[in-house]
């Protein structure tokens, strides 16, 4: 395969890399007031990248750059979702920064760069590509968390994220070096072959794998590596939090799947229980810790930890239906999360954002459309049918039960009953309580559109066409097996 042939498979990444650099130079020349144009151009770049993924699929998959980079149905599915998510995230941010008068053109470019990193993660096929992808993504995210550089909370969030993120990178690197040491290869396919022949006797390999899992669990913010999540989510500017809660999680989850399914499929017996316990811990932390939260961003942080727990249940199954259930779950989760954060961004009073749950009191009397959208999204997050969130849970539970993990599914439903309580609490504030002062009505079309689209997706579009999503995810998952 010539270099040109190889590059032809990496068009989306090239578009992102070249696009972001070109926009960076343009932004520097145009000055501070170019932010709006740059953000529109960034969305266009993402749209082009999506077009490349969707219209030029690598039929049957391809591995390029000396086995480091894998393009297949799986990576294409994840990338499509990630790029669209990033586009919505940029769109949602517009108004937020405008109000604070520091809407910088670096913001959309940083998102593009982090998405570029995510693309590398999703397609990583060896340990070095894995690490490079994660670091490219993370460095951009650290800066994004502290993009509000005059705000102490934002800076603090960025610093915390950086310190803990560096720690997790260390864990991962250590794990990777152990794996390399005990197998003599960094390529996932090679590792899989060696792991198969040496089996469970290769203790060093398993220890390395555990370190790698720890680092990845940090990136998807699964318990017990979740400590940074609430603080970073609360401190980071809200649009950034929306992006954090959606895209990086899915990218890290995809990488998690790829590592375990392509490099360690034969070690399933060794890592299945680890993943299952991480899943249980995450679901429980997500369910119980969120009950006491009054800040809605913190609550969403714990909720996201819980949701990762459900998704990991599909991974613990270690089967093709398990992988496809994660893809379905995370796609639906992203739709709900983006919509919920769009609603949170509309909680605006006298020019400032409010973040307390009690500010939503009596919202049905002051702003019915917003209350209705948020109600649909919250019931969906709680996994109550007929919202899409329920279907995500269904596929995950079926995958777990299919793999013989009935106890995991039972713990999962119990956790979801607990978590239903805190989603319900917000609903009852909105519907049953006396109204708090109304939010500002003029929120801009971008947020309204994002929230409305996600609510309509959650119910009824994804519900009616869930079969389509299922088939797409099924095809994507089949690429790994």
């Amino acid at each position: 395969m010539t270099l040109v042939d190889m590059l032809s498979y990496a068009y989306p990444e090239l578009v992102l890399a070249i696009g972001s650099m070109a926009l960076l130079i343009t932004g520097v020349f145009m000055g501070e007031n170019s932010a709006q144009k740059i953000s529109l151009a960034s969305i266009a770049v993402l749209a082009i990248a999506v077009a490349f993924v969707v219209f030029r699929p690598a039929v049957g998959g391809a591995t390029i750059f000396a086995d480091a980079f894998r393009i297949d149905g799986f990576s294409e599915f994840v990338k499509t979702v990630l790029y669209i998510t990033a586009g919505f995230a940029i769109m949602m941010s517009h108004r937020y920064f405008q109000g604070d008068d520091n809407w910088r053109f670096e913001y959309p470019i940083l998102i593009l760069l982090s998405v570029f990193g995510m693309s590398l993660m999703v397609s990583a096929n060896d340990l070095i590509a894995l690490y490079m992808g994660i670091e490219t993504q993370s460095l951009a995210l650290y800066v994004l968390a502290s993009i509000n550089r005059d705000s102490r909370r934002s800076t603090e969030a960025g610093l915390k994220y950086f310190v803990l993120g560096a720690l997790s990178s260390c864990l991962m690197l250590y794990g990777a070096s152990l794996i390399y040491g005990f197998t003599g290869s960094v390529s996932f396919t090679e590792i899989a072959k060696i792991a198969e022949t040496s089996g469970g006797e290769n203790v060093g390999l398993i220890i390395g794998l555990v370190f790698l899992i720890s680092g990845l669990a940090f990136k998807v913010s699964a318990a017990p590596f979740h400590m940074w999540t609430p603080d970073v989510y609360e401190g980071a500017p809200t649009p950034v939090t929306a992006f954090f809660a959606a895209a990086p999680k899915f990218a890290a989850m995809a990488l998690f799947i790829r590592v375990l399914m392509t490099a360690f499929p034969t070690a399933l017996a060794d890592w299945q229980m680890v993943i299952a316990l991480i899943a249980v811990a995450s679901m429980m932390v997500g369910a119980f810790s969120a009950i006491a939260q009054t800040n809605i961003k913190r609550l969403m942080a714990y909720s996201s930890i819980g949701h990762v727990g459900y998704a990991l249940m599909g991974l613990a199954a270690g089967t093709a239906p398990g992988v496809s259930s994660i893809l379905i779950y995370m796609t639906i989760y992203i739709v709900m999360t983006i919509g919920a954060f769009a609603c949170i961004l509309m909680m605006r009073r006298r020019g400032g954002l409010t973040e307390d749950i009690s500010d939503l009191s009596g919202l049905t009397k002051t702003n019915m459309p917003l209350a209705l959208v948020l109600t649909i999204l919250l019931f969906s997050l709680a996994g109550i049918p007929p919202m899409a969130g329920f279907f995500g849970k269904w596929y995950v539970f079926v995958a777990a039960v299919d793999a013989g993990l009935v106890w995991l599914a039972i713990l999962g439903v119990l956790a979801s009953a607990v978590s239903a309580y805190y989603y319900l609490r917000i609903v009852w504030f909105m519907w049953f309580d006396e109204p708090a002062p109304a939010f500002e009505r003029d929120v801009g079309p971008a947020l309204q559109m994002t929230a409305g689209v996600s609510a309509i997706m959650v119910f009824p579009i994804l519900v009616i066409f869930i079969g389509v999503l299922y088939q797409a995810a099924d095809r994507a998952a089949a690429a790994l097996f």
Binding site: I384, V401, V413, R441
Partner: protein, 526 residues
């Protein structure tokens, strides 16, 4: 063998989703209404919106009733299997959108479509706040309830079953009565407490059903109900699955000891909410037992029947005694509902024709009678804004028509021969007698106790001297109140004297159920 005959026209889907049309219409009007900056609709527009919403809801529910009757006219009661079946691809892989009814479910469909216009009528004047939202919630609830009874796929059933929590949660929480409650150190409005309790109790129960459903799907590869009914799960698996299904339906039913959400929910819900809850939502539990537990897990049903008998007897006797001690009219009727549902569960798990038909009949009759009793309480509540029994007395002097109607439904609740309540109870007890005479012996106490609490309620509210000053000017029922009560009375009387028509409809389906049940038991060596 369970036969399925497909429908020429999608009558069931049309019946199920027709209420949504009305809901969408009201929602559009609601959204189009002009609001000021605080999101408040102008007073005049609000009144216009409210009266339009009432009319649209009324027309819709009556329209649905007509559609359901048309569907019924296509239904042949002499055929035991599923009829009017429709199927469309949905999730793929063994889960499809499938609707169909048999003799058991068609009657619940008709009960639902019949009760709904009455509920709308009962809310006509008593709901003054956020009328449009209220009507939307009720119409959505009707769709979901009908969906539960028509679904012929377990997955579809679960979605309707679970989704019905959402509108009911909002109905109790938004339009519930006033008052506060201390709970876990917080003071919250008691309607909120009741709504959340209702939601979480039912949710926890049905989540176990979800796991069971996932397991059945992974074993049988489908959630198609007729297929699952013929799929023979192993004896050990049946027990676990039975427990999971039982957890869900027992909460919904509700059976002792998981009934505690019901009195709270009934007391707090607006009148029409209580009517729907008592007349239809509770029946989903009994329907679930008949549709799933008995046919799908016959061996486990036999194993666990003593447990069900015990819980039913406790429910019948214990909750009747609790009802005796109530100061609140709605709470008393709520507890009496739990006791009456005890007869239903007892009858169903006898596995005999009389028992199952008695359970079914009791559910139908309870739908008319307890619904009517809640309407009766609503009548005086709308006038006096209290449900305290002690606040009333001597109403017969001012409200003779009301006293007559209330008396009839009180006697129906007691199970007086001539009312439909009698037929259900006697059949259920006959079924129980065939299995074990002690069960019937204890259940008979329930009949005596029900007379005690129901007549006490009646005496204290209606009889005696009219001494309370607040009651001196209380007006008798108006047509909007007596018309639905009269209609319900006609049904209860008709079925009490001549239960044939109802029995004829579900009898073939019950025969088939028992035939398959007995066959499965003998195949399982029981």
């Amino acid at each position: 063998m369970i036969t399925e005959s497909f429908a020429q026209q999608p009558w069931l889907s049309f019946t199920v989703f027709a209420p949504l049309l009305g809901a969408i219409l009201i929602a559009v009007a609601r959204v189009m209404a002009r609001t000021d900056d605080d999101g408040v609709i102008a007073k005049k527009d609000q009144e216009q919106l409210a009266s339009n919403a009432r009319r649209v809801a009324m027309i819709t529910t009556i329209g649905v009733l007509v559609v359901s009757l048309v569907a019924y006219s296509q239904f042949d009661p002499s055929i035991a299997g599923f009829q009017l079946v429709e199927q469309a691809a949905w999730l793929g892989g063994g889960i499809s959108y499938k609707m169909g009814v048999d003799g058991i479910s068609i009657l619940f469909v008709l009960l639902t479509t019949f009760i709904m216009p009455i509920c709308i009528l009962a809310s006509w004047n008593s709901i003054k706040d956020r009328v449009a939202d209220y009507m939307i919630a009720f119409l959505v609830l009707e769709t979901l309830m009908l969906g539960v009874f028509c679904a012929l796929d377990l997955f579809v059933f679960y979605i309707f079953f679970e989704a019905s929590l959402i509108p009911m949660f909002l109905i109790i929480g938004v339009w519930g009565s006033k008052g506060t409650k201390e709970f876990a150190g917080y003071t919250m409005p008691s309607r909120v407490y009741a709504a959340v309790k209702f939601f979480l109790f039912t949710l926890v129960g049905s989540l176990l059903l979800l796991v069971a459903m996932a397991w059945m799907y992974s074993k049988a590869g489908t959630t198609d109900i007729p297929t699952l009914q013929q799929f023979e799960f192993s004896h050990g698996a049946q027990r676990w699955l039975w427990i999971a299904f039982f957890a869900s339906f027992a909460v919904k039913m509700p059976m002792w000891p998981v009934h505690t959400w019901l009195p709270d929910a009934h007391v707090q819900a607006p009148t029409a909410g209580s009517v729907v809850l008592a007349a239809i939502l509770l029946k989903m539990g009994g329907y679930g037992f008949l549709r799933f537990s008995l046919p799908m897990f016959p061996l486990a049903s036999l194993d666990f029947a003593p447990l069900v008998y015990a819980l039913s007897i406790v429910a019948i006797i214990y909750t009747s005694l609790v009802a005796l001690a109530q100061e609140d009219m709605k709470k008393l009727i709520a507890y009496s509902s739990v006791a009456h549902m005890g007869f239903v569960t007892m009858g169903i798990f006898t596995g005999t024709k009389q028992g199952i038909e008695g359970g079914l009949f009791q559910m139908l009759s309870h739908g008319f009678i307890s619904g009517a009793l809640f309407l009766c309480v609503g009548v005086v509540y709308d006038r006096m804004h209290t449900r305290e029994i002690a606040a009333y007395g001597g109403l017969v002097h001012r409200m003779p028509i009301y006293a007559f109607l209330f008396l009839f439904f009180t006697l129906g609740n007691v199970g007086l021969p001539g009312t439909s309540g009698f037929v259900g109870e006697i059949l259920a007890m006959t079924g129980a007698f065939k299995v074990n005479s002690w069960i019937a012996f204890f259940a008979a106490f329930g009949v005596i106790l029900s007379a005690a609490y129901a007549l006490r309620l009646y005496r204290q509210v209606i009889y005696g001297e009219l001494v309370k000053e607040a009651l001196f000017e209380i007006p008798d029922v108006n047509w909007r109140e007596w018309a639905p009560l009269g209609l319900l009375m006609a049904f209860a009387l008709f079925l009490g004297f001549y239960p044939g028509p109802a029995l004829d409809v579900f009898s073939p389906a019950v025969d088939l159920l028992i035939e398959n049940y007995d066959a499965a038991l003998s195949a399982g060596g029981q």
